[in-house]
């Protein structure tokens, strides 16, 4: 073990990096999948209460947030194309747009939850426990847990994208080494994927 030449270039394996990200995404899918199973069983057992409670939610805010997430998914997907075309400026611009859209999503969520709190609906609130049926309590419990967990993923995704954008700016993530940005993109699409199912199940009950 004498005189082993040290290569200063760090080991880089894009395939393994992508595979690792996908394995993590699988665990996330099963986490939310479990919650969707809980939701479906309780909805089957309490169809009327879920319909009543679901009508409390604002379809317009839900639809606007859906479109915001879909557009942000497109912009981050485009940013990887821009990076591969060695267009750093456009890559950074698209990433900033993605982050701004994520922020708008969270602001909408803030106002949406704020309205619920204003109506006396939050987990364990007196209004919820005293005046509502078991099914409605379950609906709002699942609503706050699932959209809350999703919002947490939005925040983590934003941090992930900010780190990737910083590295693109520094030049350590570039056309031949795009893994970090691609993985940030994969994570962001996962967040989008979950919302694609959350939206109809919570906002579109009729």
């Amino acid at each position: 073990m004498e005189n082993v030449t040290q290569h200063s270039a760090a080991h880089y394996d894009p395939e393994a990096s992508k595979l690792g990200m996908w394995l993590f995404i699988f665990t996330e899918l099963l986490l939310f999948g479990g919650l969707f199973i809980v939701y479906s069983i309780y909805r089957f057992l309490n169809p009327v209460a879920f319909q009543l409670a679901g009508e409390e939610l604002n379809v317009v805010i839900g639809a606007v947030n859906t479109i915001i997430l879909l557009v942000s998914s497109m912009t981050i997907a485009m940013s990887t194309s821009a990076l591969q075309q060695k267009n750093k400026k456009l890559t950074l611009f698209l990433l900033v747009v993605t982050i701004v859209l994520a922020l708008v999503f969270l602001v909408n969520k803030y106002f949406e939850w704020g309205t619920k709190f204003h109506h006396g609906i939050w987990p364990g609130s007196p209004h919820l426990i005293n005046d509502m049926s078991k099914g409605e309590i379950l609906f709002f419990g699942l609503y706050f847990v699932m959209t809350g967990l999703h919002a947490l993923h939005i925040i983590i995704g934003m941090i992930f994208i900010i780190v990737a954008a910083k590295r693109v700016q520094q030049g350590t993530v570039y056309a031949d080494r795009p893994s970090l940005l691609e993985n940030a993109g994969l994570y962001w699409h996962l967040v989008d994927l979950i919302w694609i199912f959350l939206f109809p199940l919570f906002y579109l009950i009729h």
């Binding site: 395939e15 992508k18 595979l19 996908w22 699988f26 899918l29 099963l30 999948g33 479990g34 199973i37 479906s40 069983i41 379809v59 639809a63 859906t66 479109i67 879909l70 557009v71 998914s73 497109m74 997907a77 485009m78 194309s81 591969q84 075309q85 795009p178 691609e182 993109g185 994969l186 699409h189 989008d192 994927l193 694609i196 199912f197 939206f199 109809p200 199940l201 579109l204 009950i205 009729h206």
Partner: protein, 94 residues
Amino acid sequence: MENEKHHIVPYRVYFYILLALITMTFMSIGIVHINLGGYSVLGALIFSTIKSTLVLTWFMHLKFDQPFLRIMVVFVILVFAALLFITYLDYFFR
């Protein structure tokens, strides 16, 4: 694709996918407002499934990645389907 390590997807492809996704979002809002009874949930979920397939295939690059990733994704979806099926069996025939 001999020497090409990364397939660069043109911007307009992503834009078309976005248009399809937004159209289906509005269609799923529309379908639940038509009175289909219990089928409206099914309709909305079918749209969600098509939408997520588009996201997985194009936005998440599965179309251009190595086949083993696609196989793994399908496998995980099947695992989830099995979990769903077994839970329902347990729940409804207890």
